[in-house]
């Protein structure tokens, strides 16, 4: 420092020396204090192996196997559960589409919680991929929807229910804004996230017009059963439901560890009213293909041009009266069909 260089100079007075030393000491102290949280870092989280891990798309199968083995032992160590983790690839000739029958949904929120159960989201703070909006009848303005509804029973007569989750857009704004390409669209239409590549900037969350992305503000916490064992789904894959860490984004991925193996997503199977439909749009005989051909279908916020793969549909309005006398007179034009 300059104070030392001019030792013989009369410019270094006792006062300026003390002032300089005090300034330097306090600066260093503040710097050390600001860095002190680093002490608490789990060194296992920051191994050289992890630091050098490549992007998902650049990993060779052998490298992926190594990473999977590492995650397997990590999960086992931390949560005491041996996961069946693998990297499930998309299949050729498959493009997934979801359809949801608005006339059926009763707002029971079973899908929300079946999803959490399946996909190992943090239970506290709570992360849920599906948001069920309670909407006033006669409006599709989602600004008027309320997802905090709390009623003794659902459905409510004056409302209908509109669950929203990731729409797996064909033109996804979240993918465009990612500065590190940690999120991308797969050939089967699912937009995925490499949780090890995400830097947590949350641009994608801001870009999504469907409010579908969730951020891990804290280290995820999982529930435990009475015996103290962690409640976690051991059926995992790299791009879907393996445990996340603090500071990364996550979202619905159509349960790709299930659906890429031919199974239905968890939210669909639990739906008590059959409002949820899922399948391969490239197969003209699939349920979703037929629904899209034959039903009144719409997408949310069509005007923003995201081309969602999540469709809402409803039935023709045929008479709902039980009494045949009320149905018969109106049966001439457009009545009971």
């Amino acid at each position: 420092m300059t104070t030392e260089s001019g030792g013989a100079s009369p410019s270094v007075t006792r006062r300026s020396f003390l002032r300089g030393t005090l300034g330097a000491a306090s600066g260093l102290a503040a710097f050390a204090a600001a860095l002190s949280p680093l002490k608490d870092l789990d060194t296992e989280d920051y191994t050289l192996e992890k630091f050098l891990q490549k992007h998902y798309k650049e990993m060779t199968p052998a490298e992926m196997d190594e990473v999977l083995a590492r995650i397997r032992s990590e999960v086992e160590q931390r949560h005491g559960l041996r996961p069946d983790i693998r990297d499930v690839k998309p299949k050729d000739g498959v493009e997934f589409v979801y359809a949801l029958h608005l006339g059926r949904c009763i707002g029971c929120r079973k899908c929300v919680h079946a999803c959490v159960e399946e996909n190992n989201q943090s239970r506290s703070p709570e992360i849920q991929y599906i948001r069920v909006l309670e909407m006033p009848r006669g409006s599709v303005d989602i600004e008027r929807g309320n997802h905090h509804y709390d009623r003794p029973t659902v459905p409510d007569e004056d409302h209908y229910y509109m669950p929203i989750q990731c729409h797996q857009c064909a033109n996804p704004p979240c993918v465009k804004v990612c500065p590190v390409e940690a999120t991308w669209q797969e050939p089967d239409g699912i937009t995925v996230i490499d949780y090890d590549w995400c830097i947590g900037c949350r641009y994608c969350e801001a870009a999504c017009p469907y409010w579908a992305r969730r951020f891990n503000f804290t280290e995820p916490k999982y529930a435990r059963d009475r015996e103290g064992n962690v409640i976690m789904n051991p059926n995992m894959s790299y791009l879907s439901n393996r445990p996340r860490k603090q500071g990364v984004m996550e979202k619905c991925h159509f349960c790709l560890h299930r659906t890429r193996e031919g199974r239905m997503p968890a939210c669909l199977e639990v739906c008590p009213v059959g409002a949820r439909k899922f399948g391969n749009i490239l197969d003209p005989e699939s349920e979703v293909s037929q629904i899209l051909r034959t039903k009144h279908v719409f997408v949310l916020k069509q005007e923003v041009g995201t081309l969602p793969r999540f469709f809402y549909y409803f039935d023709e309005d045929y008479p709902r009266s039980e009494k045949i006398s009320e149905i018969l007179p109106s049966s001439e034009p457009g009545g009971a069909r």
């Binding site: 300026s16 300089g20 204090a33 703070p125 029973t153 199974r263 008590p272 059959g274 349920e287």
Partner: protein, 240 residues
């Protein structure tokens, strides 16, 4: 930081304003250091203890359990087929429901379809009958329903109506289309507003501002009651 030290050390020789700046900044830095080391540990998020939903509420089983083909029912602890009783009892001529011991629980509320024999075979009670007299088994009940409920059957065939569980890809597992009677009671087929049920708890995320229904404290109090009420496995009435 470096510039401040310079300010104290070099430019300070002129005794100008920078020394005062250095003298002011030093205590600020020290205060910050004390705050960082001894102050609160990060932001206290209103995180509650993680809790799980009762798995029984997330069962993927159908709403109703269906009869076998031929149906076998449990009567006084014995498994019986329909014909074991019905070969003894003759059907009533007018075909209206006979309030016998075994069928008292049946409430027939199926619109104008109010005759047992419209669907049940008169002689062979282990079978069903179509409008044209074709005899079908209980496992083929969808065909029977389709004879009146055309549009619904059409939607069911296309997958727009009803539930499908298991696999979407038939080449890799069973695509399980649920039949009519796995949701609807054939005698009272209308599901009243599809079973009013208690909704599972909503998100516990804090709600900000009055437009979203209240402040943080209000949310905490509210979700606290929610947690106590529905997260515990008390809701036998929640499921069906």
């Amino acid at each position: 930081m470096e510039s401040k030290i310079d300010a104290g050390g070099v430019r300070g020789r002129d005794g100008g304003a920078p020394c005062w700046a250095g003298a002011l900044v030093a205590p600020v830095f020290l205060a910050l250091a004390v705050w960082f080391l001894l102050g609160p540990d990060g932001i206290d998020l209103p995180a509650e203890e993680p809790s799980a939903i009762d798995p029984a509420l997330l069962a993927t089983t159908p709403r109703r359990e269906i009869l076998g083909d031929p149906p076998v029912i449990l009567i006084d602890g014995f498994q019986r087929t329909c014909m074991e009783c019905h070969r003894l009892f003759q059907p009533r001529e007018d075909g209206t429901s006979l309030q016998l011991m075994q069928h008292r629980h049946i409430k027939l509320d199926h619109g104008i379809n109010d005759r047992c024999r419209n669907c049940h075979h008169v002689e062979d009670r282990d079978r069903l009958v179509l409008h044209d007299g074709t005899v079908i088994g209980y496992s083929d009940v969808v065909t029977l329903c389709s004879k009146c409920h055309g549009p619904t059957f059409r939607d069911w065939q296309r997958g727009a109506h009803g539930r499908t569980n298991g696999y979407w890809d038939a080449s890799r597992g069973e695509v399980r289309r649920l039949g009519c009677t796995e949701c609807h009671d054939p005698h009272t087929p209308r599901v009243p507003a599809l079973d009013p049920m208690r909704p599972l708890p909503g998100p516990r995320a804090p709600r900000m501002g009055p437009s979203h229904g209240g402040r943080l404290e209000a949310t905490r109090a509210r979700t606290g009651t929610l947690t106590g009420r529905t997260r515990t496995p008390t809701g036998a009435s929640d499921d069906h």
